[in-house]
Symmetry: C2
Subunit: 260 residues, 2 copies
């Protein structure tokens, strides 16, 4: 009798420093690859995972999500403990859930939160060098915080997309955006329904320029109005970016009663 | 004419993960060695630095201090920028000061602050794995905070010293001690006039045991009263410890007017 395959959703955290990014690539080690190899060791046979977000090389995650199908009898909540004994220390599985077969890690996403960390000090950080971007000139975080609010809501973010994206529409909704300082660390937090390729790093790069007066705060509104990428700053470097959380509609995570 | 040698005091930050500790050793690379090598490249000739604290392998620093003597004409405040172009990214010089010849980085210290970071979560941290100790069982940080207050003030800390120390007396003064939680991170902050070998890590290890009920809060008082190391928990691992600040008496840093 063939075993029936079930769908699992994992929450994954990683330090992206030593990876070519989330997605499998020929030119180096990806987080997807080390996760699939650990799953294959644990479950036997080939396993394919699908991630919510294809984070770039150097980008980190506290709450990436990925789904996989398996006929394993290991309870979902035991998967993190078993996998973490096999994974390298810079990749940790934090949660395992049984979910309906209809839940797709990427297509079912209802919202994501990113954080961008800037080490704002004359000298780079020895301790957080891989977890932040270094900006030596003093940033005015209140100016950045005020300026970024114009991005709240639903807009055409065409100007905020790097070449190489494949989105059919460039309209997105930002539900939360703010800039805060803790000592020498400046944090940008952005939540939205979905993001264009490099969108958060382009917002971060532009806010850095606004924060030290290189660009006027109105640049963001002008970019929304015109769709002109040249209104904005450079794409901020990857190591400052962390995928904090991926959300799904409550109902899409609920198993039918007879499968619980 | 021989140039007159002047004394400089540097503030140094480092990620201790890839070093055998602060002090030069035959069995591997120390922070002292990479700093001396950068100074020799910059200033020419052999340079010897003396650190305030001989931090162990894996221990980090945000505000280590070290003095050196040189006849260089480079202004003290330019030294960090010049040295940081030569140092590896996990060692940064944050400040350079001209100080009187009588200032000794170690013997003139009036106070130090350490922080111990605990990642308190069922799974280890992928991002902060080298900057924190992992404690999977839930810690009661208020219990830890209340218990640690008994260490405030001047006491004989004989029970809190690891073998291998060379202190003539084990009496020390703690001027500040507290435990706080931010999400899954628990921080112990300790300031004092001086510390015995491994003293902060023994305090941290004991507070962890108190925080999950393995040791009663009274263990700390009992250890002070009896000098008995066995009243206390294990020495917490090095990677959670960061030397935050080293302080000197104001007057010992002031240059005579004709040398300014």
């Amino acid at each position: 009798m063939e075993k029936i395959s079930k769908r699992f959703l994992l929450t994954v955290s990683y330090d992206g420093t030593n990876y070519v990014g989330w997605q499998r690539q020929k030119n180096g080690l990806s987080v997807q690859q080390v996760l699939e190899e650990a799953l294959e060791k644990l479950l036997g046979g080939p396993v394919r995972v699908t991630g919510a977000s294809r984070t770039d090389a150097g980008v980190h995650a506290l709450g990436q999500r990925a789904h996989l199908d398996s006929a394993t009898s290991i309870p979902a909540e035991k998967l993190p403990f078993a996998l973490n004994t096999m994974l390298p220390g810079d990749v940790r599985v934090l949660q395992g859930l049984r979910v309906p077969d209809s839940l797709h890690a990427r297509f079912s996403v209802s919202g994501k939160t990113y954080r961008y960390q800037i080490h704002n000090s004359p000298h780079a950080s020895a301790l957080y060098r891989n977890l932040s971007a270094h900006v030596p000139v003093r940033l005015d975080e209140r100016r950045m915080d005020e300026a970024c609010r114009v991005l709240l809501g639903t807009h055409d973010f065409a100007a905020f997309a790097a070449a190489g994206g494949s989105a059919k529409t460039t309209v997105r909704t930002i539900t939360e955006i703010r800039v805060e300082r803790t000592g020498e660390e400046v944090f940008l937090t952005v939540s939205g329904n979905a993001f264009l390729y490099n969108m958060v790093r382009i917002i971060a790069g532009t806010l850095i320029d606004i924060g030290h007066g290189k660009l006027p705060p109105e640049s963001l509104q002008k970019a929304l109005d015109t769709g002109d990428r040249l209104q904005l700053g450079v794409t901020a470097p990857p190591q400052g970016l962390t995928l904090m959380e991926v959300r799904y509609p409550e109902v899409s995570l609920s198993l039918p009663e007879d499968e619980q």
